[in-house]
Chain length 104, copies 2
DNA sequence: ACACTATTTGGCTAAGATACCAAATAGCGG
DNA sequence: CCGCTATTTGGTATCTTAGCCAAATAGTGT
């Protein structure tokens, strides 16, 4: 039986996933680790913004990092995040049915 | 290739999942449709709060509803949401490793 | 120690989410 | 039509999040 604490823990992780830039970074990290400045180019945001997003992902336990020289490399901690997305896509497909134009 | 619009759409859906009460409701709906007042008991919140949560889920395309008499019954629109949770659990398992006490 | 680059942190503001209350709406039975 | 129950909507206070700037920290090469 799942308790409300279980749902709280899950929600905390899911919330960390709920941002376009963070999703884009996780997606990119699926191909291997990347340093912050590369991720920064990817999402085209300020360094500090990217760093804070990564902090959110780290706190949730979704990524890990290691420092090498000046650069910090982040990597996925739990690689299933991408099949995880399959369900999200299924929802999007359902949403598209019966709608003539894609809403952005 | 995924565009930033794709990530925005995904994030919108994931954000709708990112609340303990909404997760609990979706979990309950996996066993079949339920009316709002039953969901209300489940999450022990005010009627209006529950109704607004359901509205969020509806907008995201995660649930549908039908009205029968006085009651409104909600149901899952895309049932994969639960194996979707498997990955979230995998993250939680990882998080638990190397931590002696469960954080709530 | 100094200059330089990469990253994080603190402070601030604007926008968004949450929860409650009260009021509005909708279907039911008398 | 009225009273009753189920649900939604609007308003508001409060909390959280996001993004930017400036300053702090950390590692490198000179």
């Amino acid at each position: 039986m799942l308790t409300s604490a279980d749902f709280r823990k899950r929600a905390r992780i899911i919330k960390a996933l709920g941002h376009p830039s963070r999703l884009a970074m996780l997606h990119a990290l699926a191909d291997g680790e990347m340093c912050v400045c590369d991720l920064r180019e990817l999402v085209r945001a300020h360094m500090s913004t990217v760093s804070k997003h990564l902090h959110v992902l780290k706190k949730a336990g979704l990524v890990d990092h290691r420092k090498q020289g000046l650069c910090v490399y982040y990597r996925l901690r739990v690689p299933c995040i991408l099949d995880f997305m399959k369900c999200v896509e299924a929802v999007l497909d359902e949403n598209r049915k019966g709608v003539c134009c894609n809403r952005t």
